[in-house]
Amino acid sequence: MSRPTASTSSAKDGQLRPTAAAAKAREPMNVLIVGVGGQGVIMVSKALASLAQSKGYQVKQSEVHGMAKRGGTVFSHVRFGPQVWSPTIPKGEADILVALEWAEGLRWLPFLKPDTGIFICDTKRIVPPFACLNRRPGAPLRYSRETPAEVRAQVAEAYAIDATRMAEELGNERAANVVLIGALSTALDFPAGDWEKSLAQFVPKKTIAVNLDAFRLGRSWIEEARTNPVVTEAPAAKAAALAHVPYSVRLEITPEWCKSCDICVKLCPERCLRLNAERIVELAQPEKCTGCRLCELLCPDFAIRVHLDSAVVAIAAAAQETKA
């Protein structure tokens, strides 16, 4: 194998001469692997890249570091073929999108080839703290609402696997990514044995057996799903029934009872209270108040009463909706 650089220019007579660029032989295979920091996205991509390289392909694998391990989005572009230019996969060019987390899978869907792209996604939901920022009563969880069925309708070939549960059942939740490798392996032309060899290099020695099981489980799951579609809905995807319950939070403060102890101000989860110029508690940011009653409960002077107006009506309505 020769050096892959196309650096064939030569300098003669003090002048650089032009050369022909290497013609593009064949489009590379684009596999986008995504997930959340800590899920093992990089391991999946390394296993794939290593396998591809061993087959003599040029491989580029590009990923983000830094913030990634802090619960952020992690993605890894793996491109392989006789000639690979861009280290990243252009939007709409991914042949396969492997997602280790449901919302992450949805985030990267636009990168998938519209007509032929294969979407393999764990239904695991990792809800980031940001999805829970609005904590007021009735506020919805800001997590993706699309269901696997909706995705399937939009994508050429889509698989929603509960890989995390499958891995748990095998005894190691962390092997979920390998279940997905198993699924991925069915979409590429490498022999299963080569996959397993590659895998064994990248998982901890002690977990090789369970990871190989996970790999085989992922493979057989897909094969079965192809002939006999499995309905796996993302858990609680429609659990937004209680959203938008119309509570109106109201704080009733008895100023002459307040002794300015500051407990409520300091311990309010939303920091929406303060002591005013007279050192009496007041609701400074009513829009943030969630009506959690902590101030009421912890006020030694009984100076605060929290009212969730129309709560009874709202709860009754919500309960009925849940039943329905």
């Binding site: 220019s9 003090g14 636009p110 311990l267 959690c292």
Partner: protein
């Protein structure tokens, strides 16, 4: 994130072989193959792994160190060059700002042993405070800038940089970007070439920058620029790839593969060095095509030069000045420029992507520090580090963040300007050692009424867990003296110093309040190791007793990624659940839980 073992193995097998390396690993490999003797760096994404990777090579080959900051790192490298050895420093783009003082002078002095500076830019600002373009520094200091486009070139150009450095008596910058640093591709590696030390060259007129010497050196620098330009006219690192003559593209570095991706058959002039530029080559190339496009990430450095040469070029009107390039951005630009047929727009599926910004880790000791900071009601000057993330909801604990070590100076200024709130600076241990100490000295000297919260998590956490003078270990993991912060701070003249365990939330609250109440400079050292480095902490996970949770959201207020909402609600608020795979059992949530419903998972029926 530490040394890459297979690279070490490779060094024992000098026969050419292909290894999958990232750009950073390739730069390190290149430096090693070039026979570098001394290497220094301060960690900074995306450059960090260069030095970590170098430290994976045998200690007898080279000395590699973490320096306290980038200026120190460059000074160390300059010193080694003075002594006649090949020397190397690496840093991120903003690190060069810190090192700029030395950098600008060294540009005049030149080198004895070859001196190469790897600087990694961060277009797109994946993990930085700006996306400044390092090529301008090269132009500014008249220092050549080589730009690899992939890992192979990273190796090759780094090696070349050492040769050029010695050949032209100049420091050489190898400029990378995040994409280069973190893309892995096969690289052909080679053996190390030893370059015995040249010995110190006693030449005060060159080595001692007093005005009289410097004036003469400036002339030499300008002459050097001309020589470099001449070299680059024919240097094989520039590539002229022919194609359709209707238009041509001039590009460099990581833009090149994108250009090739989008325009596989176009005429391209790929520059190996983006500074200085070979004027003749550019003129000849531009003349060979009808339209000339310059594709360069960030600033129009090349484009402006071409315009200065009187050549009509197109560039930034089609390709943005900000952000990281991608094939689709280039495609869109070329489509707008009319050289590519617009692709049919597919009706996209309207997906609202989930916001998933990086957050402090589960169990991060900064969490409780910033809970207390938030409760203190202070005006807070933040600094660079993981804790910068505390500016986001729900902690919302920072008001400003400027640059490494700025927090204390910023706080002094705010206090002197009479901010009505108490003023506080929060600064990590590594950042404090990097650039915080002069600020603190200044605070004491000028009697500022500020509180400095020194967030000592025993590691340089943000960049992935690097050692520093406060950790008691070197880059290579050897024992080293450890900075005693409390003694240091007292020696500076701070009278009010207290150490506190930031996992003790109540103590944290109280200490912070008392520190603020103190008139003058008060320093709190919050003392808790990072949960990821140097060892990953994983205690027994906690769980919520669901039926007891009253959804008060006190724990959600920590912003801990292990905490999220369960399916149940109470009074319309979501009850909380704990992701046990993420929880490390730090108990901070239990400490704020108002119903005591957070218990070790083992005792809670799920």
């Amino acid at each position: 994130m530490h040394a890459v073992p297979e690279t070490v193995e490779l060094s024992k097998r000098p026969d050419q072989d292909l290894r999958p390396l990232t750009g950073n690993e390739a730069i390190a490999r290149g430096a090693w193959e070039a026979g570098v003797r001394v290497a220094a760096a301060y960690p900074g994404t995306p450059s960090t792994e260069i030095m970590e990777s170098l430290a994976g090579y045998p200690a007898e080959d080279l000395h590699a160190q973490w320096s306290t900051n980038e200026k120190v790192a460059l000074d160390v490298a300059i010193g080694a060059s003075f002594a006649g050895s090949r020397a190397f420093a690496s840093m991120k783009h903003v690190g060069l700002n810190v090192a700029a003082d030395a950098f600008m002078s060294q540009a005049y002095i030149g080198v004895n042993g070859g001196l190469v500076l790897a600087v990694c830019d961060d277009p797109g600002i994946h993990s930085s405070q700006n996306e400044q373009d390092t090529r301008i520094y090269g132009q500014f200091a008249t220092v050549p800038v080589l730009e690899p486009s992939d890992a192979q070139e990273a190796l090759d150009l780094t090696k070349l940089a050492f040769d050029l450095s010695e050949q032209f008596d100049t420091m050489v910058i190898v400029r990378g970007t995040t994409r280069l640093s973190h893309t892995r591709s096969p690289v052909a590696i080679g053996p190390r070439t030893e370059h015995p030390t040249r010995g110190f060259l006693e030449n005060p007129a060159k080595n001692v920058m007093i005005p009289a010497h410097a004036r003469r050196r400036h002339v030499a620098v300008i002459e050097r620029e001309a020589k470099l330009k001449a070299y680059l006219e024919t240097a094989p690192i520039n590539r002229w790839e022919t194609g359709d003559a209707s238009f041509g593209v001039i590009t460099a570095g990581t833009c090149y593969p994108y250009v090739r991706e989008v325009l596989p058959n176009a005429s391209v002039l790929k520059l190996g060095a983006s500074w200085p530029l070979p004027d003749d080559l550019l003129r000849r190339y531009c003349a060979s095509v009808e339209r000339v496009f310059v594709v360069e990430e960030l600033e129009p450095v090349i484009e402006k030069e071409l315009r200065a040469l009187g050549i009509k070029v197109e560039g930034k009107q089609f390709f943005p000045r900000e952000g990281e390039f991608s094939p689709e951005i280039l495609r869109a630009g070329f489509e707008r420029a009319g050289v590519l047929e617009p692709r049919a727009q597919r009706a996209g599926w309207a997906l609202e992507p989930l916001a998933r910004p990086p957050v402090l880790c589960a169990g991060c000791p900064h969490t409780s520090s910033f809970m207390a900071v938030r409760a203190s009601g202070a005006r807070v000057a933040g600094d660079i580090g993981c804790y910068t993330l505390a500016c986001l909801d729900p902690l919302r604990g920072l008001d400003t963040t400027v640059s490494m070590g700025s927090s204390i100076g910023n706080a002094i200024g705010m206090a002197m300007a009479g901010d009505t709130k108490p003023v506080m600076a929060t600064i990590g241990d590594s950042t404090f050692l990097h650039a915080g100490i002069p600020g603190l000295i200044n605070a004491v000297y000028n009697q500022a009424n500020i509180t400095v919260l020194l967030l000592d998590n025993h590691i340089t956490a943000m960049t992935g867990g690097q050692e520093h003078p406060g950790t008691g270990k070197t880059l290579r993991g050897e024992e080293a003296p450890k900075v005693d912060y409390e003694a240091l701070v007292r020696a500076i003249g701070v009278k009010w110093v207290r150490s506190v365990d930031s996992y003790d939330l109540a103590q944290m609250y109280q200490t912070l309040r008392e520190a603020i109440a103190y008139r003058g400079v008060s320093v709190i050292i919050s003392n808790r190791p990072c949960v990821l480095d140097p060892v990953k902490i994983k205690g027994p996970a906690l769980a919520i007793v669901n039926e007891q949770c009253n959804a008060c959201q006190s724990c959600m207020n920590l912003g801990c990624p292990a905490l999220t909402w369960g399916k149940d609600t109470f009074e319309g608020r979501h009850k909380v659940k704990i992701d046990q795979s993420l929880c490390i059992g730090c108990t901070l949530c239990a400490q704020v839980c108002t119903v005591d419903c957070i218990k070790p998972a083992a005792t809670v029926a799920q």
